[in-house]
């Protein structure tokens, strides 16, 4: 699990500040609030699906992103977390080639098929479009496959509805279905749990992990929800204009840089979804749905105190 770039970054961090080095998979720059850089991972990794080195992006003379190194490999679930304004969506846009970096390089494997679920999918009711037609736009999928995938993401009922009639959660699932229908090598989900209720969130993470096991694509998952990190992610990358920490979920939360970035409170509140076990360590801030009791009754993670 501690793949090469984590080890390399960890080694680099260690070299800079020995007391900050961790051997169990997490690597963090010594000071996150200040401008500290990860040790460079060296050249572009051409065995990865996507590899980025030294990415920098400016807007109006201000650095939105600086010195970002990131690799996403086959079968790997990388979770990108960070506070609002950390540049998560911009990093995704750079990795996807929707924006051109001011510095650094993004390399995508030749012929890489990307399934993308953007942060906001504003449907314009001006264009008439049924769910089924929308799904066929992404590629030439058979009707039977469309039905299967829609059922899989839990949006089977929407098939003949107009996109503009869907709720936020339904729309998110439909866009996910389109991404999956493309048989992606890399699935990129920007804040996929927005507009999804509490139970739905756990289900969604579970589904993504299950599909990854089955199909072996790489996953880049973005979240601003600092407290909930998918237990099945192979690597968590904390971003605040630069990469602050990266490593396996359990260790990143214990890291001083994580506490500095998100506050001690947040570090304690860090929860790891144990999707196959019926418990989690969620303490605060995760609850967003009024149906929390119902969610608990259905075996979703418990422990929210905010209701």
């Amino acid at each position: 699990m501690a793949d090469r770039d984590v080890r390399a970054a960890a080694a680099a961090a260690k070299a800079r500040s020995p007391e900050d080095g961790h051997d169990h998979g997490a690597s963090c720059s010594p000071s996150c609030a200040a401008h500290a850089h990860e040790g460079s991972l060296g050249a572009i990794d051409r065995t990865a699906l996507v590899s980025a080195r030294g990415l920098g992006f400016q807007r109006n003379g201000r650095d939105l992103l600086d010195g970002i190194d990131l690799d996403i490999r086959k079968r790997e679930i990388v979770m990108l977390i960070g506070p609002n304004g950390a540049g998560k969506t911009m990093l995704v846009r750079l990795l996807l080639g929707l924006e051109t970096p001011d510095r650094g390089e993004v390399w995508r494997r030749e012929g890489l098929r990307i399934g993308y679920v953007p942060q906001r999918f504003d449907v314009d009711s001006v264009i008439p479009m049924t769910v089924e037609r929308f799904l066929r736009l992404g590629g030439d999928a058979s009707l039977a496959r469309i039905e299967t995938i829609l059922d899989e993401v839990g949006a089977g009922r929407t098939r003949h509805q107009q996109l503009s009639q869907l709720s936020g959660g339904e729309l998110q699932r439909v866009v996910l279905a389109r991404a999956l229908l493309r048989d992606p090598d890399l699935l990129v989900l920007d804040e996929p749990v927005q507009g999804v209720d509490y139970t739905g969130e756990a289900e969604l993470y579970n589904l993504i992990a299950r599909l990854r096991d089955k199909r072996g694509f790489g996953v880049l998952l973005v979240s601003h929800d600092l407290h909930i990190v998918m237990a099945r992610s192979d690597r968590v990358v904390c971003l605040n204009r630069h990469v602050c920490c990266s490593g396996v979920p359990e260790t990143v939360a214990q890291h001083p840089a994580y506490a500095r970035l998100f506050g001690a409170e947040a570090a304690r509140a860090f929860a790891v979804y144990r999707l196959h076990h019926d418990h989690s360590h969620d303490i605060a801030g995760a609850a967003r749905s009024a149906d929390e009791t119902a969610a608990s009754a259905q075996g979703a993670p418990k422990g929210n105190e905010r209701a």
Partner: protein, 265 residues
């Protein structure tokens, strides 16, 4: 009533109705009505230029329309002022420039009103040839690019992430729109050409469940608008282009009324 000039007007109008239908739909799907309006009004400059240089007017207008369209695309890349504000400003400037340019031409007086509102009954066989050839090229290109165009119209970032070359597709669409405007200008004039594209599409929208059906319905409504409008024009001796636009607008008003009524519980 079926004089040759009337027949020519009907043929040109119907052909244009079919060509304009997919373009009109994409214009409203992508909220480009103001963009088209600006290109259309700038094409009067093309008229003046063609007359001054003794070029074919349609050709001159196409050149200017394409140039202006790309200039606008380039303008819209800045992110300081909203694009519709810029367009709202520029289309007046373009019209003013065009009117002055036409008025400054030496030689025989130019029928400015004809260019502003179109002169459908003055359509010549060579105009019809332009419409047929240009129209076939535009329709062929739209059919070829249908899927990527639609994907871009639904969600540009999603399409781009999925590997659509959005800059190229958008550039081609811009050229197609400019060519359609230039060809249609002859019939409905620079001031009404966007109505010819947009109004039937608006009328079709409430009754279409898929993009393809919307285009089909737009073409049918536009064709009916041309037939009814030209008949009306012949009956009450009104100018052809405005009569067609009036009929289309009534259809759109009825359609939107019906849509509002249907939405009410």
């Amino acid at each position: 009533m079926l004089e040759p000039f009337f027949l020519r007007a009907v043929v040109a109008g119907l052909a244009l109705a079919v060509v304009a239908a997919p373009l009109g739909c994409f214009v409203i799907w992508q909220r480009m009505a103001y963009f088209g309006e600006t290109v259309a009004q700038a094409s009067l400059i093309g008229v003046a230029l063609s007359l001054a240089l003794r070029l074919d007017i349609t050709f001159g207008v196409i050149v200017i329309a394409v140039a202006v369209a790309f200039l606008l695309l380039w303008f819209s890349r800045q992110q300081v002022v909203a694009v519709d504000s810029i367009l709202g400003l520029l289309h007046h400037a373009a019209l003013a420039t065009g009117v002055i340019a036409v008025s400054m031409l030496k030689g025989p007086p130019v029928d400015l009103v004809g260019f502003l509102f179109g002169d459908v009954f003055a359509v010549t066989t060579s105009d019809i040839a332009w419409i047929m050839v240009g129209g076939a090229a535009v329709l062929g290109a739209v059919a070829w690019l249908w899927q990527p165009l639609l994907r871009l119209a639904v969600h540009e970032d999603l399409a781009a992430a999925e590997g659509i070359d959005h800059r190229r597709v958008r550039a081609i669409f811009t050229i197609l729109l400019a060519v359609t405007i230039a060809v249609a200008m002859k019939i409905v004039g620079v001031l009404l050409v966007m109505a010819f594209l947009v109004v039937p599409a608006v009328a079709a929208r409430p009754f279409a469940g898929t993009p393809e059906r919307m285009v089909l319905l737009t073409a049918i409504l536009a064709g009916a608008g041309v037939l009814l409008g030209l008949s009306l024009s012949a009956t009450i001796d009104a100018p052809g282009g405005p009569a067609v636009v009036i009929v289309m607008s009534i259809a759109a008003a009825l359609s939107l009324t019906a849509a509002s009524v249907m939405r009410r519980p």
